[in-house]
């Protein structure tokens, strides 16, 4: 391994570390805020940190088999990978991660890596609720990916590139250069898709706590669960960073990153998530395939006419 590679890896670890911290904090903050909106007191902001430490410290674990064992690994690998393939901060070497490996399509597909792996692990757990959750999750995913992919295509057409770095570069200069202003339809479609992606209400049927206790990861506990929780922070932030890059002008420094991701997250989980009841699977599928998809199509059409 030559020094260039070593530096790359070092940078990636640093970037990852920082973003994990922020991700966990963000989760804690949002939990608190949501609780307040609900009128509850809510857990402390550092609760996610405590959870992870507690779970990883548990003394015994049960394994149902190899895939069960590997499920969380897939999941977190996907979370980390997704993040690492996105250039987090425009112009920063440390935060450019491994974005030279591929463009926005790589990121979009890498998300599936974890979902599939997790689903497999959950499947081997032998718990019927897991596949039920997986089935719902996959079904819903196919639906919300439609507006999202349409939005991405619209962007690719608009900027004539698939490279995230270049998309961010094109949005620099003025706030009006942000995609949300230059291509609002794409942004809207993508943001609606984000609601599904985050599996917050009204799209939380996948993990429906009352019906199929948290769905796919039902059987996971201790270190597995710790890993899943860590992933929840990293993956969440990866998605937010992606959105920020694609639609909100990216970030030129870490502070902007924190601010922008926070705001996007607040919008999806609080502004919308709290206000709506839960959709059934087929309802959410139909929902995504109607207006959001139409908006995405419009976005493409408008862009390609230009």
């Amino acid at each position: 391994m030559n020094s260039v590679t070593l530096i790359l890896i070092g940078n990636a670890i640093l970037s990852l570390f920082l973003i994990t911290i922020w991700g966990l904090t963000l989760n804690g903050m949002v939990m608190k805020i949501v609780a307040r909106v609900h009128g509850r007191f809510g857990p402390p902001v550092w609760q996610p940190f405590l959870d992870i430490i507690k779970n990883n410290a548990k003394r015994t674990m049960i394994a149902h088999g190899t895939m069960f064992f590997l499920g969380p690994v897939f999941r977190i690998a996907s979370g980390i990978g997704t993040y690492l393939f996105i250039p987090a901060i425009f112009g920063s070497t440390v935060f450019s991660n491994f974005s030279f490996s591929g463009d926005v399509f790589l990121v979009m597909y890498f998300i599936f890596f974890g979902q599939l792996g997790m689903a497999l692990g959950a499947g081997e757990s032998g718990h019927p609720y897991s596949p039920i959750g997986v089935s719902r999750g996959l079904a819903q995913m196919t639906a919300f990916e439609v507006p999202f992919s349409l939005a991405v295509i619209s962007l690719a057409v608009q900027y004539n590139t698939l490279s995230i770095t270049e998309i961010v570069a094109a949005q620099q200069g003025s706030i009006l250069n942000w995609t949300i202003f230059t291509n609002p339809l794409a942004a809207i479609a993508a943001l609606i898709a984000l609601l599904g992606m985050n599996m917050h209400n009204p799209f939380s049927i996948v993990i429906a706590p009352q019906e199929i206790p948290i769905g796919p990861p039902t059987e996971y506990h201790s270190a597995y669960l710790g890993m899943l929780q860590t992933n929840r922070a990293i993956f969440n932030i990866a998605k937010l960073v992606l959105y920020m890059n694609l639609f909100f002008g990216g970030a030129t420094n870490f502070i902007t990153l924190i601010l922008k991701t926070f705001l996007i997250y607040i919008f999806t989980s609080v502004a919308v998530g709290v206000a709506f009841p839960r959709f059934r699977t087929e309802q959410s599928i139909r929902f995504f395939l109607k207006y959001p998809a139409l908006i995405g199509l419009l976005a493409i059409i408008i862009v390609s006419i230009k």
Binding site: L84, F100, F105, L138, I153, Y224, M227, E282, L289, I300
Partner: protein, 1041 residues
């Protein structure tokens, strides 16, 4: 020089002698009988040989006066051919019938001899009234021989025949006498330019004459009696009526052509065409084997008539050899095959075509049966194939496309019922034995060999053909002969043959062709390993397989459209037969062959058009066509049907599912690519054709993406694992077509890349499923579960294949996806890209379903002890797996050659930087992605492994179940109707609309056939009225003025 008149003298002398000997000595009588047949065979063969050597034709003047004063006979080369055939059939039919003759009466032999003599007379005589006499001789002997089976059915049929025959002879005689009156002669040659046609009466007389003969050829609808006869008489006699008598009458009509006014020819062609199509249409509903053969006979004679009448109308006939190929080919094909099939019907003894399954107990008979069926449909290597090819080419060259369609439509209908019948025969469930005697079997076999030989000879006559197909067939025959070898040895031989063939072929191929060569041959070679696991010894398996694989190679090295089509048909037939081997594949195989043949006929028609426009059959010649839209549509549609494009995909799931488990991988991984290859070849040759202002590639692109979408969607809802994979294949092929349609460097690179990866992961998946099903006796996924522990090796390869299939990085599938979107966006096909993306997400649904329902979740009690499948299933999987891993790590292993191959046709639009491939829009570094993924995967894994001492492995059923704990694991496996909610949301798109549509079409066609056959009421008088109607309508269509 033997005077041909001795044919008559010998047969008559023998007939009189037999009458004399019948009470004296049976043995001598038998000897005389066969000796006579041998002598007339000798005479006709002798003359045939002489004439071939260029000797002058025999002109026989009876009574020592020159025509037109006496009756004269003529024996030229054409006559000689017909005589030889009729007399050979006469001889072999006699061998076949001998036992029956002995049992019943020597009178039958006398009648038989005179019948054969009469047919000889029909062929040779040049005198109208003499013709009438011979006609009556053949009719009367036939009427009498019909009662060889002395039951009410044959006699009723015979009486109907007599009524029709009576009308025929009346009309014929009226025509003859008025021709004599107006033309001053009874001699055909002297009537030709005697000015008889100057008057209406003369034309009418000619009309009556010709149509009387025509009725003897049983044209639709004046043929009810003939069907009854075919159905009820002894098959040996039916063979004579269907082949020899029809041949003689056909030749008489041929003789009359110079006499006919030119306006007759289109009418004859029309009658022939209508007969061909309608007989085949009505044959669809027929279940009585012999009556079915009757319909087929009538149809074939119609085709022959139409072909003859059409050829005679050509302004520019290419060459004499075309006529020989078309008429000779069609004729001989029908002649031998129909006689053979009737004989076979006599051997099998079963009336209902469903009962023919007993034939499967007797492989030689089955082989012969299959041969005749193929010949009759006009498939290679039989003469009918060359004939149909040449006919279509010549018709196209003469701008008679309507006729091409009529003939192809009729052929397709015929293929459907013949293959249906064949299907019943293959499916053996009964143990009943067929009694065969050498005397009955031998003639059948000889006729089949004759067909094969003449089919080979056809190669020299058709332009653009060569013996490209001989090697595969030869190897097939060798493997068939070597059947006694152990299975694995045969398989190894097969494998060696494929490897050697690849070694010879691949270096000789260029760019894209070479890449497809790798897919076809190397892919097949790997898949061949699977077949080593076979336990049952099915004779035909390896022979058919080797023919199929090598023909795939031939497809690539075809230089002319004929070579291409020939190989294409070989693949179609062999794959059909292999699919038919599946246990319940009857219907699926029939649908498969129907669609395949329809596709092949479209290709044929397209090649005909190309021939019209270029005048050559070379494939390279296609490139010179200016207005190539139609050709592109026809050929393209043919290829797309083979791919199973949406709308024509109904054959695909059935064929994939019901084929034997170790053959399905071939279908999906290898065979499906032949359509892709066809499309690419077409695009190489024709570029991007436009038809009526429509960019055809644009349509192709949409078809591709819709196929991808519906394939994925339908796959998600399947419970049957093979069906799921079949639909999945369909969807993947959709992507390939989509990429192909982009028609750019990147698009083609994508397409070929996807072709390769599809070969790899579908190869794995289908082989894995084959292995799985060898252990688990169900295809329903919800009846499995938890098999990961039982067959971990299979699970791993399936897992990798699924990841590759779904396009998730870091495996090779993502490369395909990335290339696809890049090329789509580059092209500006944004909506297609969106839909493709949607389809690829839907693919996750079924991808997960396979893994979960089969390998994960709770195991079933019954399947608790199943083991890893045989090593022969594992080896090919891991070979492919190795391929996937290699090209995932180093995509340039495959991308570089593909790119360089494609850059022969397009300027490259992507370039490399180390491991990064860069398109105009984005970039992708497969190597880096792999490294990163491994890295991020390893870290948490190491952490978990570090914690491994805390892990307790528990039983699968040891789960945390809230409140209600089920007592049995199998009820806890959530797998049935896995995507119920998805069905609720999008199920309306997956409704089998297309299947219903084709089902309705099939039903409508069948009921139209059923409607028309109501004409045949069974009443002899009604049949006579039909004849009258036919005559009048024909006459008034002709509109004689």
């Amino acid at each position: 020089m033997v005077n041909p008149i001795y044919i008559f003298i010998t047969s008559l002398g023998a007939a009189f002698l037999l009458n004399l000997f019948q009470k004296i000595n049976r043995k001598i009588a038998d000897l005389i009988f066969f000796l006579t047949l041998a002598v007339i065979n000798y005479i006709s063969l002798f003359w045939f040989y002489q004439l071939l050597q260029g000797y002058e034709a025999a002109k026989i003047y009876t009574a020592g006066f020159l025509p037109p004063y006496s009756i004269n006979l003529y024996l030229g080369i054409e006559e000689a051919v017909f005589l030889v055939l009729i007399n050979l059939l006469g001889f072999f039919s006699a061998v076949y019938l001998y036992k029956k003759f002995r049992e019943i009466s020597i009178k039958a032999m006398i009648l038989y001899l005179v019948l054969i003599m009469g047919l000889n007379g029909l062929v040779m005589t040049r005198d109208l009234f003499n013709l009438f006499v011979f006609l009556e001789i053949t009719s009367i002997t036939t009427y009498a021989l019909i009662s060889l089976e002395d039951n009410k059915y044959s006699l009723t049929a015979g009486f109907k025949f007599i009524i029709a025959g009576g009308l025929v002879s009346t009309l014929f005689l009226i025509g003859t006498i008025y021709l004599y009156r107006l033309g001053g002669s009874l001699n055909l040659d002297f009537l030709v330019n005697s000015g008889v046609l100057n008057t209406k009466a003369g034309i009418l007389a000619t009309f009556l004459l010709v149509f009387a003969l025509l009725i003897e050829l049983k044209p639709f609808p004046a043929n009810g009696w003939a069907l009854d006869v075919y159905q009820s008489v002894h098959p040996g006699i039916a063979a004579i009526i269907a082949s020899a008598s029809s041949a003689a009458i056909f030749f008489v009509i041929y003789k009359f052509i110079p006499l006919m006014p030119s306006s007759f020819l289109p009418l004859l062609a029309g009658i022939g065409g209508v007969t061909f199509v309608f007989s085949n249409l009505m044959g669809l509903k027929q279940t009585d084997a012999r009556r079915l053969l009757g319909y087929s006979s009538i149809a074939q004679m119609g085709l022959l008539l139409a072909a003859l009448a059409l050829i005679m109308q050509f302004d520019n006939l290419q060459s004499l050899s075309s006529i020989i190929v078309i008429i000779g080919g069609l004729f001989i094909n029908h002649f031998l095959a129909k006689a053979g099939l009737f004989w076979l019907a006599g051997i099998v003894q079963k009336r209902n075509i469903r009962s023919w399954k007993i034939i499967a107990n007797n492989p030689p008979l089955l082989l012969v049966f299959g041969g005749f069926i193929l010949a009759l449909i006009g498939l290679p290597p039989f003469p009918g194939f060359w004939a149909k090819w040449e006919l279509v080419m010549q018709l196209s060259a003469n701008n008679m496309m309507v006729w091409v369609w009529i003939i192809l439509a009729g052929s397709l209908l015929e293929a459907v019922y013949l293959f249906r019948w064949f299907g019943y025969a293959v499916k053996n469930t009964e143990v009943e034995e067929i009694r065969t005697e050498a005397a009955q079997y031998l003639p059948v076999l000889i006729f089949l060999l004759g067909l094969l030989y003449l089919g080979m000879e056809g190669t020299h006559l058709v332009s653009g053909a060569d013996s490209i197909y001989v090697l595969p067939v030869l190897l097939g025959v060798i493997l068939y002969v070597l059947n006694w070898l152990p299975n694995k040895l045969k398989g190894s031989l097969c494998l060696l043959a494929v490897i050697y063939f690849s070694y010879r072929l691949l270096p000789a191929l260029q760019d894209i062709y070479q890449l497809f060569g790798v897919v076809f041959l190397i892919g097949s070679a790997v898949l061949l390993i699977t077949t080593f696991a076979r336990k049952d010894i099915f004779k035909g398996f390896y022979p058919l397989l080797i023919i199929m694989i090598l023909s795939l190679g031939n497809l690539l090295q075809a230089k002319t459209s004929l070579q291409f089509f020939l190989s294409w048909e070989f693949i179609t037939i062999t794959s059909y037969l292999l699919i038919l081997r599946g246990k319940f594949s009857l219907k699926a195989a029939l649908i498969y062959i129907t669609f395949s043949l329809a596709g092949a006929y479209l290709i044929l028609a397209g090649m005909g058009l190309a021939f019209r426009d270029t005048g050559v059959v070379s494939l390279a010649g296609l490139a010179s066509i200016v207005n190539s839209g139609y050709i592109y549509v026809l050929l393209g549609l043919g290829f797309l049907i083979k791919i199973g494009i949406v709308g024509f995909h109904v054959w695909l799931p059935g064929a994939y599912t019901e084929a034997e488990d170790d053959f399905t991988p071939f279908l999906s991984a290898v065979l499906s690519k032949m359509g892709i290859f066809g499309l690419i070849m077409l695009a190489i040759l024709l570029g991007e054709p436009v038809l009526k202002g429509i960019q055809l590639n644009y349509i192709l692109g949409w078809l591709g993406v819709l196929t991808a979408f519906f394939g994925a969607l339908l796959a998600a809802f399947q419970e049957d694992i093979k069906k799921l994979l079949a639909y999945s294949s369909l969807g993947q092929l959709g992507y390939i077509v989509l990429a192909l349609a982009i028609h750019s460097h990147l698009g083609w690179v994508t397409s070929i890349y996807l072709t390769f990866t599809h070969l790899l992961f579908k190869g794995i998946l289908f082989v894995a499923v084959a292995g799985l099903l060898s252990r688990v006796k169900t295809r329903k996924m919800y009846e499995m579960g938890g098999l990961i522990n039982n067959m971990p090796l299979t699970f791993i390869s399936v897992l990798i294949a699924i990841i590759a299939l779904s396009g998730v990085p870091p495996l090779s599938g993502f490369g395909g996806k990335w290339l696809l979107y890049s090329s789509l966006l580059e092209k500006g096909w944004y909506l297609q890209a969106g839909l493709a993306f949607f389809a690829s997400t839907i693919a996750f649904l079924y991808c997960y379903r396979i893994l979960h329902s089969v390998f994960l979740g709770q195991p079933k009690t019954a399947l608790r002890d199943v083991k890893e499948p045989s090593v022969w299933y594992i080896v090919p999987q891991y070979l492919f797996l190795f391929g996937i891993m290699a090209i995932s790590m180093y995509p340039n292993l495959i991308l570089k050659p593909v790119m360089s191959a494609v850059s022969t046709y397009f300027a490259s639009s992507i370039y490399w930087e180390d491991y990064t491939v860069i398109s105009s829009l984005g970039y992708w570094n497969g190597n880096a992605v792999m490294m990163v993924t491994m890295g991020v995967f390893m870290i948490p894994l190491l952490w978990l492994l570090f914690r491994i001492k805390a892990v307790t492995k528990v039983k699968q059923f040891n789960i945390v179940y809230a409140a209600e704990r089920p007592d049995r694991p199998e009820t806890t496996h959530y797998a049935h109707n896995f995507f119920a909610h998805y069905q609720k949301a999008l199920g309306f798109l997956a409704r089998p609309k297309v299947t219903e549509f084709w089902g309705n079409i099939a039903e409508v066609i069948h009921s139209v056939g059923a409607l028309f056959r109501q004409l045949y009421t069974g009443n002899g008088q009604t049949y006579a009225i039909h004849i009258l109607i036919f005559l009048l309508i024909s006459y008034f269509i002709l509109g004689v003025k």
